[in-house]
Amino acid sequence: MLEAKDLRKAYGALQAVDGVSLHAAQGEVVGLLGPNGAGKTTTIGMLAGLITPDQGQVRIAGQPIQGDTSSVKRQLGLVPQELALFDELSAAANLDLFGALYGLSGKQLDGERHRVLELVGLNERAKDRAGTFSGGMKRRLNLAAALMHDPQVILLDEPTVGVDPQSRNAIFDNLESLKAAGKTLLYTTHYMEEAARLCDRIAIVDHGKVVANDTLQGLLRLAPVANFLTLDLATPDFEALAELRELATVKQAELTGTQLRIGLQNMRDIPHLLAWLLTKNVEFEHIQTERPTLETVFLHLTGRTLRDA
C-alpha cells in the first residue's frame, strides 16, 4: 500500500534523510522510531508529497505522487506534528474545511464529519471553537481532520506530543480502531512505548538512515542481552565489579551509585550469579529482572539513548 525506495533529502550540508526505504502493507502499522532530528518528519513530508526528495520514489497503492493536485493524495491522510487547526473555527467547521479540500460536500460531508467526531469522541463538542479545547482534544481533532476523506493510508507524525496520558490512550484506541478497519498506518515517534504498543513493524532511524527494521520481537533479538538483573546494594562500595565482568555468563555490568545492573544472556544463570555475589559478601536490599527494550536496542545500534540523541 505504501512504498518508499531510497529516499534522500539534504538541506545544504545537512543530509536529513539518507537512503530510507520503507513499505507498509494494507492494515499494517509501521513505526518510525528515532530521536528528534533523526529525519522522521522529513521522511513523512516526502511520503505525503510535501517535500520533493532529492532522490528516491514514493508510491501509494502503486501510484507515485506527482504535483500538488495529484489524485493519489486522496488516499493519504496526514496528521502533522503541529496542530493544523483553526482555533477561531468550531470543531465541525474545521472538519468541514478539511473534508472540502478533498472534494466532500453535502450529505457526504455531514456523514463523514459525524463519523470522525464519533471516532475521536468529540461529537458533543462539535460546535465549540477549537481554541477552547484542551491539548488532548485538539490532538484528537487533528487526527479527525486527517480522517474526513476516509484515506487508506494515514501518516501520523508524533500525534501524541504534549498530551496527557488519558488523551494518549484515547488516541491509541482510535488508532487501533483504524488498524482494525484495515487502514495502513505509518507512525513516527520517539517514545519506544508507543512504538512497542501500536506497531506491527518498527523502523529505527538515526541520522536519516534506517538502522533496523523488523517486528518488535525481531528488534529485541538484536539486543546484546536477553535479560537485565538489577540489584540495589546496601552500600556503594562494591569492589568485585571487574571480576564480575569476567564471568562467562555476564554480558555487561554497570554500577551507578548503589545500583548494580547486570546483563545476562540466559535467565537460568541468575541463581548462580546471586550465589557468586553472596560469596563476595555483597548485601543487597532489592532485586529485579527486566527484559531489554527498544531503548536497549537503539543504544546497542547507535551508541546513544533515544532521549540523549
Binding site: G45, A48, D68, T69, A84, F86, L104, S105
Partner: protein, 419 residues
C-alpha cells in the same frame, strides 16, 4: 462545496467571528474619516477658525488705530492689541503664531513715503518658525490693510498732505519733479476739502468671486466624501497587510503543510485568499460609505457603476497586495515592518492624508505609480466630483493591472515552505 469555496468561507468565518476585529475594521475608518471631514470641510462662519495675531501699536496714530480696527474686521484673523514684550514672549512660547510690531511715527512716515523718496518705516513681524505659512498670510493681509489705511488718510485728511508739502520744501529733489509733486499734493488737499470726497483711499482694484466646482451647480463640496474615501483606502491597505501576515502565520503554524497534503494547487490557496480578502474589502467599503451617506450625506454624485467597480478593483488590488506580502515575506515579523512602511508611503502618496497638489512636481509624478492614488482619484471622481463612468476607466484599469502584477508575482514567488 469545492476546496476554493471552502477556503473562502473559512476566511470569512474567521473574519466575522472576531467581533473586535470586525468593529475595528469598520469603526476606525469611520471615526478618522469623520474627524478629517470635519477638520478640512467647509464650516459655518461661527465655527471657522481665526488665526490669532498680536498687534503692537507703538505709534498710536489715527492711521495705526484704523489699521488695527481693519485687521480686527478681517474674517481670517483674530487681531489683539498687545505690548512688545508680552507679544514677543507669546510668540516664543507658541501661544501666538504671529505678532505685528508697528513702530513709532509709522503713520506719518508711511504717508510721506507714499510721495517722497527716503527711508521707509519698518514693520516687524515676529513669527513662530513652525508657522511660516501663517506669517506669509499675515504679511499679505497687512500689506493690503496698510495700503488702504495709509492712502485713505493721505487722500481723506489734510494733515498728511500738509506735512508732505512741508517736507517737500527740504527734500533734495529735481526742481521739475518737486513742482509736479507739489501740484499733486495741493490737488489732493483741494479734493479732501470737498465734502464726501476721498473716503476710501487706495483699495484692491478687483473683487473675487469664489465658485467651488463640484458635481453640479448648487451642490456643495462635501469634505466627508474625500475623507471617508481616504480612510477607507488606508484601512483597507492595512487589511492587506493583515492578509499577508495572516498567511505567513499559517505557514509558521504548519497549516500550509497540512493544506499541501490535500490535492490543492497554490493557485487555489492564493486565489481563495484573494477572493475572501476582496469580499471583506468590499464589505468594509460598503459599511463605511453607507455610514457616510446616512450621517454626512455623502452621495455618489457621479456614476454608481463606476464607484462600485472602482471599489471592487481596489479591493482586488488590496487582496493581491496582501498575497504579495505573503509570498515575498519570509517570516511574519520580517514582513510586518516592511509592509507597514510600504503601506504608509502608499497612503501618504495617494493623497488620502493631504492633497497631492502640495507635493513637489516630481513627487506628483511619482504618485502616478502608486495604486492607492488611482483609487483615491476614482472614488473622488465618482463621489463629490460627480463624473461619469468614463472617468473611472483609467483608475479601474490601473488598479486591475496592479492586481494582476501583484498576483502574478505572488504566485511566482510563493513557497510552501520557508527556504
Amino acid at each position: 462545496m469545492t476546496a476554493f469555496s471552502a477556503l473562502v468561507k473559512k476566511d470569512l468565518q474567521i473574519f466575522l467571528g472576531d467581533r473586535r476585529a470586525v468593529i475595528m475594521a469598520f469603526l476606525a475608518p469611520i471615526l478618522i474619516g469623520s474627524f478629517f471631514g470635519y477638520v478640512f470641510g467647509p464650516k459655518p462662519v461661527k465655527e471657522q477658525s481665526k488665526m490669532p495675531v498680536l498687534f503692537v501699536d507703538q505709534d498710536q496714530s489715527a492711521t495705526t488705530k484704523e489699521l488695527l480696527a481693519n485687521m480686527q474686521k478681517d474674517p481670517g484673523l483674530e487681531a489683539v492689541a498687545s505690548e512688545l514684550d508680552p507679544a514677543r514672549e507669546a510668540v516664543k512660547k507658541g501661544k501666538a503664531p504671529v505678532a505685528i510690531v508697528i513702530p513709532k511715527g509709522f503713520g506719518e512716515q508711511a504717508g510721506q513715503s507714499l510721495f517722497i523718496p527716503g527711508p521707509k518705516p519698518s514693520v516687524t513681524i515676529l513669527f513662530d518658525p513652525s508657522h511660516q505659512t501663517e506669517a506669509a498670510m499675515v504679511r499679505g493681509i497687512l500689506t493690503g490693510q496698510v495700503m488702504q489705511s495709509v492712502t485713505k488718510n493721505a487722500f481723506a485728511g489734510t494733515e498728511m498732505t500738509s506735512n508732505a508739502l512741508k517736507s517737500l520744501e527740504t527734500t533734495p529733489m529735481d526742481a521739475g519733479a518737486k513742482g509736479e509733486l507739489r501740484t499733486l499734493l495741493e490737488s489732493a488737499q483741494k479734493l479732501n476739502a470737498r465734502p464726501q470726497a476721498g473716503q476710501g483711499g487706495i483699495a484692491v482694484p478687483f473683487e473675487t468671486k469664489d465658485e467651488a466646482l463640484t458635481a453640479r451647480t448648487g451642490v456643495a463640496y462635501n469634505a466627508y466624501a474625500h475623507s471617508f474615501g481616504g480612510m477607507a483606502i488606508q484601512f483597507m491597505l492595512f487589511m492587506g497587510i493583515d492578509v499577508g501576515i495572516g498567511m505567513l502565520l499559517l505557514r509558521q503554524r504548519g497549516l500550509w503543510r497540512r493544506f499541501r497534503a490535500a490535492p490543492l494547487s497554490k493557485a487555489t490557496l492564493l486565489g481563495s485568499r484573494a477572493v475572501s480578502a476582496m469580499l471583506i474589502g468590499i464589505l468594509i467599503l460598503a459599511v463605511v460609505f453607507t455610514f457616510a451617506r446616512i450621517v454626512f450625506d455623502v452621495r455618489i454624485e457621479g456614476s454608481v457603476a463606476g464607484f462600485v467597480v472602482v471599489c471592487a478593483a481596489f479591493s482586488l488590488m488590496t487582496a493581491a497586495y496582501g498575497l504579495l506580502i505573503a509570498a515575498v515575506g519570509k517570516t511574519p515579523e520580517a514582513a510586518r515592518g516592511l509592509a507597514t512602511l510600504a503601506t504608509l508611503l502608499m497612503v501618504m502618496l495617494s493623497g488620502a492624508w493631504v492633497p497631492s497638489f502640495v507635493f513637489p512636481q516630481w513627487l506628483q509624478q511619482v504618485t502616478k505609480a502608486v495604486p492607492a492614488r488611482w483609487a483615491m482619484d476614482g472614488i473622488d471622481a465618482m463621489t463629490w466630483r460627480g463624473l461619469g463612468f468614463e472617468e473611472a476607466l483609467l483608475p479601474i484599469a490601473v488598479l486591475l493591472g496592479c492586481a494582476v502584477v501583484f498576483g502574478a508575482i505572488a504566485i511566482w514567488r510563493f513557497r510552501w515552505e520557508v527556504e
